[in-house]
């Protein structure tokens, strides 16, 4: 592996991100109530809000880094670390909870552990609980990488993890 090449790519990436942060801040410059929208735009692109980016954003907007951090840490939607490469959202809304969301979550975690132990999981699954995802009619429901799986029972978890489509 060519270490110099890797480094160059990294530097290029960082420079690209820096530019985007200023561009996004510029787009929102004349808009009222923009900080949270800017943070959303950044997280949409990068997946999280790295410290360096927050720093850059402070420079671009004139808002203090402390205040930016205050906001990022208050809102659970914003992430300070990169997400896993598969995001699983287990709905823990009322309807799903009543219909066994907790055991679905437990089964998913157990299954992921099993896959890891077997060395079969190259992928990194991130399991989060979310509140009602808006399809209680399909409860209990799980969203994986943007696709919703509904009317589940705990035994369905291996299927979801294999990314078999279909409800």
């Amino acid at each position: 592996m060519n270490a110099d090449g890797e480094l160059e790519k990294l530097v290029e990436w960082v420079e690209g991100v820096r530019k985007r942060v200023h561009e996004i801040a510029g787009e929102w410059q004349d808009e009222e109530g923009s900080l949270i929208m800017i943070l959303h735009a950044i997280q949409d692109e990068i997946g999280y809000i790295p410290r360096g980016v927050a720093n850059e954003l402070a420079k671009a907007t004139g808002i203090s880094l402390a205040r930016i951090y205050e906001v990022i840490t208050f809102y659970t939607y914003f992430r300070l670390t990169p997400p896993g490469n598969h995001e699983i959202h287990v709905c823990m809304g009322t309807a799903c909870y009543l219909r066994g969301a907790e055991s679905i979550q437990a089964k998913l975690l157990q299954q992921i552990d099993l896959m890891k132990a077997a060395g079969g999981a190259k992928d990194d699954f991130q399991v989060d609980c979310v509140r009602c995802i808006g399809c209680c009619g399909l409860s209990p429901a799980v969203v994986m990488d943007g696709k919703t799986y509904g009317r589940l029972n705990p035994e369905d978890s291996p299927e979801i993890l294999k990314q078999k489509p279909g409800v």
């Binding site: 959303h40 009543l98 509140r131 399809c135 009619g137």
Partner: protein, 649 residues
Amino acid sequence: MDKQPLTARELDTFVQEASVAERWIRVGMDTGGIAAGAQEVYDALIEARDSSGLDIDIQQTGSIGLSYADPVVLVGGNDLPTLVLGDMDADSARELFAGYFRDGRLLDDRVIATKDRGTDFDGTQQQVILVKDTGDGDSHHRTTIFQNLIREDLEARGLDQKIAVVRALDMGLYHRGVCVQMLPSRVTYASVTGADIRRLVDESLRNGIVLDDLLVPGGDPQERISMRNCGSIDPSELESYLRAGGYQGLKRALVDMNPEQVIEELKTSGLRGRGGAGYPTWLKWKNTRGQESDRRIVICNADEGDPGAFMDRSILEGDPHSVLEGMLIAAYAIGADTGFFYIRVEYPLAVKRVQKAIKQCREAGLLGENILGTGFSFDAKVRFGAGAFVCGEETALIASIEGRRGSPEPRPPYPSIKGLWGKPTSINNVETLATVSAILEKDGNWYAGFGTEESRGTKVFAVTGKVRNPQLVEVPMGTPIRTIIEDICGGAGHGSPIKAVQTGGPSGGVIPVDKMDTPVTYEALLELGSIMGSGGMLVMDESDSMVDVAKFYLGFCVEESCGKCAPCRVGGFQMLSLLKKIHAGDGVVSDLDTLRDICVCMQTASLCGLGQTAPNPVLSTLKYFEHEYLDLVTTPETVTSNGKGRKHG
């Protein structure tokens, strides 16, 4: 649409020209529908149409609310009333073309019978008989037997080529034995026995005589006002909304009325806020208007925080223009120049539809300068939430738009006096605004004709949990809870009888089954120790532990507490520890008194609505189901026996 701003007169042409294609299909493409596979159904329909060469209009719409049957498709044509088909998939979509539109064949177990039932045949030849056994037990088997019996009888009379006998997915009737609905008349019979089949065929189908002893009279307890267009228009087309009478309410307000008259019209309607507190909408507007300022603002609260509710999402996804029109009317009434939609970022489709609606209105001149040539100017923008329930609270919401942490501030001053950037601000809920546009299109008296003296109009509820058919329901206020749960949603759905219904989400309380005849009004629910809230209605059955439910809601509030004030931060935490302890079987009787004490303290000393109402689920379960707490305190085995409360993972 051309880029010239619309004039008031041009608006009317859309309504006048509105015509429905002869044969059409509408696919419910809201989040719930799409999650269940509506996109695949839509794609299959388009493909099947293109290869069939048939001229059939296929449209994407929002949800009509029947979540239990998603994906749902509406079909018009073949001289039948609109058919509602549920549990669709790509195959059954193709079959619509191969079977239904070609030779009138309908798939079994798809059609949902209408509750808007007919009472006579009007001399029409019936084409379809829907049949289903609505009793308990092996109803599928009995349904099939009856389907065959009716078919045989039709065959014997030579009618089998004219009339199709189709198993229904749902009859809209429950525990009424074998039911049939005949189409196009919609005449519906219940408790049909084998002996009735001959009469059904001979008298009703051949001679058009209604069998009064079996007849189920018409009467859908629902009334769609806020959800008037959900499922019937294309939410991503402005013209579709205009053809349904859209922006007529705005036109009436701008052209025929001054702002005071608009406020007066709202007063006549009796509309109260649908976001939770039920404050009269006209009064909020009057207060905001009455405040001297160089600028006023209107906000649509689309943060829908109740963890089991989806009314606002459905309206935003199914009919975003109705909310935008309501916002424009609010802005005119209070004298605002800017509006913000504060939308949960977890609702990406709602965000997309609202953004598109705004863009369309800017292009059509319904947003911007000199709207409809009346001199009124206004623009609307979208701002996202970021996963904080407390931001549904007005002052926290304002802080969030301003780019700060969403911490509530003491009220007064209310936002109507000092709101966003210190300017007088009216914050209105999604459903409230969707109703405003309907009220202005018709009039205040018309709206006031629904509901009760104190609680006027209709309310949307998201009925979920242990109910047979979870769905969105819109009923006149004053409708008994039992009608909603049993007549509309089919009652208990998971083998165990209903124990209680929770309303108002984390700020609400439980209503035990013996109080289900209570009418839904702000006052009646309050009296029972619950609240109307935003419209979540969670059904629980005998297998659900009330302590577990209380723990769930309290856990939600503790997690979502902003931590600014001690009663909520500390009280909530302590209470949750106690509930966990009790639930695990380690509690003592005196813990219940401690719980009650903390509840009172939180209710009285918390800064905002979150902390003030968080104890409600605990207090109301203690009020009606204290024995469940006591059982746990004395006999811990009851927890383990139903498998609840064990920590997983």
